[in-house]
């Protein structure tokens, strides 16, 4: 079975500042890794995913995450955040069974 630990439950950040959300996973098999975002009163949306290949993956809105197998991590970063990035972010892991195991989430609050 796989599990995910998100190390920060709340991250306040000023607009245009960088942000990093930390995610560590545990698994005895090869995994696939995901970041989902949940805006207020909306469903979860896939932000980015790592399935194979390059360990650095990017989203269309400026987020990136790096898969680090030796440290079993998949941290999410953005060099400059906007007010609209205020949301809850979930890290998730899956093996070959197509089931997702989610972390507890990190709430990002961007302030002007």
């Amino acid at each position: 079975a796989q599990s995910v630990t998100q190390l920060d439950s709340q991250v306040p950040v000023f607009e245009e500042a960088p942000v990093e959300l930390r995610c560590n996973y545990s698994s005895s098999v090869s995994v696939y890794l995901f970041w989902y975002v949940q805006y207020p009163n909306q469903g979860l949306q896939l932000l980015l995913k790592y399935l194979s290949g390059s360990t650095l993956v990017e989203s269309i809105n400026g987020f990136e995450a790096e898969f680090n197998k030796s440290q079993t991590s998949f941290h999410l970063r953005k060099p400059s955040v906007h007010i609209s990035d205020t949301a809850e972010y979930f890290c998730a892991v899956s093996a070959d069974d197509y089931k997702l195991s989610f972390g507890a989430g990190t709430t990002v609050t961007v302030r002007a």
Partner: protein, 114 residues
């Protein structure tokens, strides 16, 4: 393309009452999931369907929860009788399966049990 639809969006019931949630996945998606998201926690998988067959229901409290997916399309999740600890957001997701891996989520149903 239309996304995953869920109804109702909100439901308030008293403990020991029954409730049902409905989900319509994205057209053509073979796999359907129901998750429970308790406040302050990540979503937890309750049941996974592949077409109209159950793939995994190991986390479904079967003494009070039931789910079905007739004709491999729409799905309903039922709780009977509800307990206070069932207060949560119930999320439905669907995916194409195969190598796609991406799950598409509906807006969820927020259940409050009083």
């Amino acid at each position: 393309e239309a996304g995953v639809a869920q109804s109702p969006r909100y439901k308030i019931i008293e403990k020991r009452q029954s409730v049902a949630f409905w989900c319509n996945p994205i057209s053509g998606h073979a796999t359907l999931y129901w998750y429970q998201q308790i406040l302050g926690q990540g979503p937890k998988l309750l049941i996974q369907f592949q077409n109209n067959g159950v793939v995994d229901d190991s986390q479904l409290p079967k003494d009070r929860f039931s789910a079905e997916r007739l004709k491999g399309v729409d799905s309903t999740l039922k709780i009977q009788p509800a307990k206070l600890e069932d207060s949560a957001v119930y999320l439905c997701a669907s995916s194409q399966g195969g190598e796609a891996y991406e799950q598409y989520f509906g807006p969820g149903t927020r259940l409050t049990v009083t």
